[in-house]
Symmetry: C2
Subunit: 283 residues, 2 copies
């Protein structure tokens, strides 16, 4: 039975209710010792102020969200994405994050935000090259990158890295300095999940750098913002945790729930208390 010392809160879970400052206070109050903040929340109160508050509250980080979104329709766009990713690495370092989470990005968009290419294979090559270029900056700086495979339903518009096998293949190609963030919401369905977790864990060093939990609801009413609280859905969370641990993962379990119609509307203190209880009883 996991205890709260192995729980981390991804700050998106209560982002509609609280600022980062309030989330930090809330976590300290609830005895949650680890968080994974988002760049927009950090920017809102400033990087130095964020680092100071996190330190003063005695919190650790399990990751920093997020870099990535590499594909762009032209060279200038890809260059801008790379520059922004370098800034994300700098911020992750300033916050003492253990890794920068990377969401690959989807098919390139035009100036109006509309998808401008159907070349999924070429887009995946852009992602490989983008991570490779970022690694040249992140590796000497000592900031691990964590590729997060996203559910295939996001392949077009958010992330074209959609399976653990694909992420492992990317790690094979890119070499050290890049690992994988395993988010159960995105990968729970994958028939190859156990095998690919083992593959990631048996790499040297292990590629298993982050573990995110939530649940898959039936029915799911929105592709993006209808994630479930652990225990409310169909994912066998203890089983997947056992695979992670069997593959050597000893890090925290980061709760990340986007839930516009439910958890984002609740009292955030109730949300944190529920995260703790469900983490203990259902994961």
């Amino acid at each position: 039975m996991p205890d709260t010392s192995s729980l981390s809160l991804n700050t998106a879970t209560v982002r509609r209710q609280w600022t980062l400052a309030q989330i930090i206070d809330g976590c300290a109050r609830h005895g949650i010792g680890t968080i994974s903040p988002w760049r927009d929340q950090v920017a809102e109160i400033g990087l130095k102020e964020s680092a100071r508050r996190i330190r003063d509250a005695g919190l650790a980080l399990s990751g920093y969200c997020r870099g990535g979104l590499f594909p762009a329709i032209d060279r200038a766009g890809r260059r801008a994405a790379l520059d922004d990713n370098r800034r994300a690495v700098d911020e992750a370092l300033a916050l003492s994050a253990p890794c920068l989470i990377l969401v690959a990005g989807g098919l390139p968009k035009d100036g109006d935000g509309r998808i401008a290419s159907k070349d999924l294979i070429g887009t995946r090559e852009m992602v490989r090259d983008g991570i490779g270029e970022l690694l040249e900056y992140a590796r000497p700086a000592g900031m691990p990158l964590a590729i997060e495979p996203l559910h295939p339903m996001y392949a077009a518009d958010r992330a074209c890295v959609n399976t653990m096998a694909q992420a492992n293949d990317l790690c094979d190609t890119l070499g050290p300095g890049v690992g994988i963030a395993v988010d159960v919401y995105h990968v729970w369905w994958d028939p190859a999940l156990k095998r690919e977790i083992e593959r990631a864990g048996s790499a040297s060093p292990s590629r298993l750098v982050a573990y995110h939990i939530s649940d898959w609801l039936v029915p799911t009413t929105d592709l993006l913002l209808d994630r479930g609280m652990m225990g409310d859905g169909v994912i066998d969370l203890p089983l997947i945790r056992s695979w992670m641990e069997g593959a050597g993962y000893r890090g925290v379990h980061e709760v990340e729930i986007f839930s516009a119609a439910n958890w984002w509307k609740r009292d955030p203190d109730e949300v944190l208390a529920t995260c703790k209880a469900r983490h203990r009883d259902c994961t």
Copy 2:
């Protein structure tokens, strides 16, 4: 550029507007020579009447929708599913369908229709065993079965066969008499798609027994009923067709669009004319 002789209409595409009898007449009127009907539509006008009307209109079938849904919470439920699948085989034979499409089924449900188990691995074993038992009936009867991998977003509630690799693995296990229905909507995102199409095509006999087309819309507003007309989304349909043809597929291209908010609300003659034009220009 594909011509209308290679077009088939999955009758779900206009099921809200027309009965099967009207669809048969409509296809004959529009010069669409092949359809793939659904069991509920056939039952509505009767099996013999359906067969007579299809024959009198000079239509061929590209498949029969659908069997499957093997998992159940107890032995009686699995037995009932198998019996129903045997009846589906009989109907497919009576209609001279070239294959029975199988949608695997999701996690077992209780009497109230709520998911009663999180055992995805065990559910996949039930599917394997269910297809194996059905094969004992379908193989001697000469009715090919076609496993249709469904998009991973349906893994919980509709089908736990979610990739071409998984379908190919099942075919390896089950032996002759079972192939694969490749539906672009479900598999377009898969990094292994080309390889697994080649694998299916190089089996002897080829496993590529059906090819379904539509498009993935961005944004997708509903997990089930927001499929796009070819050309309105992001799938590189000519590329995937080239992979199918490169792997030896010479069958028709079956349009299957579930679209509650758009195409199911339109004049069905307009829908058929649009299917023909988009099939010619966008696939």
